[in-house]
């Protein structure tokens, strides 16, 4: 079985600024891969390119055997129309830093919306599936609540439920704990750990080094728009090979305990 996600030589420019300068990486089925790196290294942009929230100029992104976001036109890439992009996005789940829950519907409906309108499940079945995912993330008693009634940590857990209930092949996490108060971070990380143990394929951008060390199978360090180093967490975090990674980790001195 080939890798679930394959990124080949991805280049992305914002105007004259090249943010991704030839990124290549793979994620295998069931693997949990963390992306670390300084702000501006392109991590968030990379995630947004994968689920077609951003366009890119060169390179290819494959989900299984499917080319994402574009159609091959001899050697050139042609952007797919919006309706096809929507269908592709259904197979890639994304959890955002600012939750992005829909404020005008209940938590249950937030999770069920995609199931009804994209996966075309009947309303009752969708709500049942949604309720069971909400239970899984520990919010069974909040199904009728509106997002504004929940804490940040609770809202983020709903956002995770919303993404994973769609049954995607790949889950993307974009610094999902960065906007949370410190005491709420733990509940979100334990949900993510639970998902990792159940075998979900996850690509996580995070600063939470504890999580990286405990849960990730592989760590990728991005710097200046390229993959600078990658490897198992223990090796990467304790025996960095490149100078850039050493400098980056130097900022976290003391966080890992014995570094």
């Amino acid at each position: 079985m080939g890798p679930i996600l394959r990124i080949v030589d991805l280049h992305k420019r914002f105007g004259s600024l090249e943010v991704l300068r030839g990124v290549s990486l793979d994620v295998a089925q069931g693997e949990v891969v963390t992306l670390i790196g300084a702000s501006g290294s392109g991590k968030t942009t990379l995630l947004r390119c994968i689920n077609a929230l951003e366009e890119y100029q060169e390179g290819r992104i494959y989900l299984g055997d499917t080319l994402l976001g574009y159609r091959e036109n001899s050697e050139r890439l042609a952007r797919l129309p919006e309706s096809q992009l929507a269908r592709q996005r259904a197979d890639v789940g994304m959890v955002f830093q600012s939750f992005n829950l829909f404020p005008h519907i209940t938590v249950l409906d937030n999770v069920a919306l995609g199931l009804v309108y994209v996966r075309r499940r009947p309303g009752d079945e969708a709500r049942r599936i949604a309720a069971s995912w909400l239970e899984r993330v520990g919010l069974a008693d909040k199904v009728g609540a509106y997002p504004f009634q929940l804490s940040g940590g609770q809202q983020q857990r709903v956002a995770i439920a919303r993404a994973v209930a769609m049954g995607p092949k790949l889950l993307l996490f974009d610094e999902v704990t960065s906007a949370l108060d410190p005491e709420l971070v733990g509940e979100v990380l334990s949900v993510m750990q639970d998902l990792a143990r159940s075998g979900h394929t996850m690509l996580v951008v995070s600063h939470e080094m504890m999580f990286v060390r405990e849960v990730a199978h592989r760590v990728i360090f991005m710097d200046g728009g390229v993959v600078a180093e990658q490897g198992p967490p223990d090796q990467l975090l304790h025996q960095p090979r490149t100078e850039r990674l050493r400098t980056f980790l130097g900022r976290f001195r003391g966080v890992f305990g014995a570094v």
Partner: protein, 216 residues
């Protein structure tokens, strides 16, 4: 004398009914056209956006009276034989739509990109996003200015009196003309306009409070 006054009151009420009819038709037509134009302004390609912009800016840049006269006198030249009522309603609808288009555009563009991202991320297509997420959220933002537009429409209906349409203002003028009772009927007419518009605004305030729980 008393008979004349009674007759006058009846005529005023008939005029009021015409005013309400005009306002209702213009509000509906203007909202539909305004919604389409607003979507065009926000999501259209360059040509569509430019055309919509030209329409909205031109119509909003001239007095509504000029638009009314232009429609009334000008449209027959192009072969469109309309009654004063129809010409007046057309002009007012075109005017209202231009204002409502701006309201719609403003409402939609005020929805944070995060909401669009979230809707895209779960695989909703463009029209689904619009129907399920963007418009429901935007409508709550658009309600106050839309209600203001409704009040302006009711006030604008008074201008149709200049085309001979017997709505409330012209009815008042007729009644004053043959009863020679001026101030009381002026006062009553003002009161009627006030009552209609005040009711519209109050209803809207109630609706707004109902949706006030939304915070994003």
């Amino acid at each position: 004398m008393a008979q004349a006054i009674l007759l006058g009151l009846v005529q005023l009420l008939r005029g009021l009914r015409t005013t309400l009819e005009i306002s209702a038709v213009v509000l509906v037509a203007g909202t539909v056209l305004g919604l389409v134009t607003g979507l065009a302004l926000e999501y259209g390609n360059l040509v569509v956006r430019l055309l919509a912009r030209a329409y909205v800016d031109t119509v909003r840049g001239i007095p509504v009276l000029v638009l009314i006269f232009a429609c009334y006198f000008g449209l027959p030249v192009f072969g469109l034989k309309l009654s004063s009522f129809q010409a007046g309603i057309t002009a007012l609808s075109v005017f209202a739509a231009a204002h409502i288009a701006e309201i719609v555009r403003g409402g939609i563009s005020s929805i944070p990109r995060a909401q669009t991202d979230g809707a895209m991320a779960i695989g909703l297509g463009f029209w689904q996003r619009l129907r399920l997420v963007i418009l429901p959220l935007a409508i709550r933002r658009m309600l106050p200015p839309w209600v203001n537009a409704a009040v302006e429409i009711v006030k604008g209906s008074a201008l149709l009196s200049l085309l001979g349409v017997v709505e409330l203002l012209l009815a008042m003028q007729n009644v004053v003309g043959y009863t020679f009772i001026v101030l009381p009927f002026y006062a009553l007419t003002a009161l009627l306009y006030f009552a209609v518009n005040f009711t519209i605004s109050r209803t809207a305030a109630l609706l707004e409070r109902r949706f006030a729980y939304l915070r994003y």
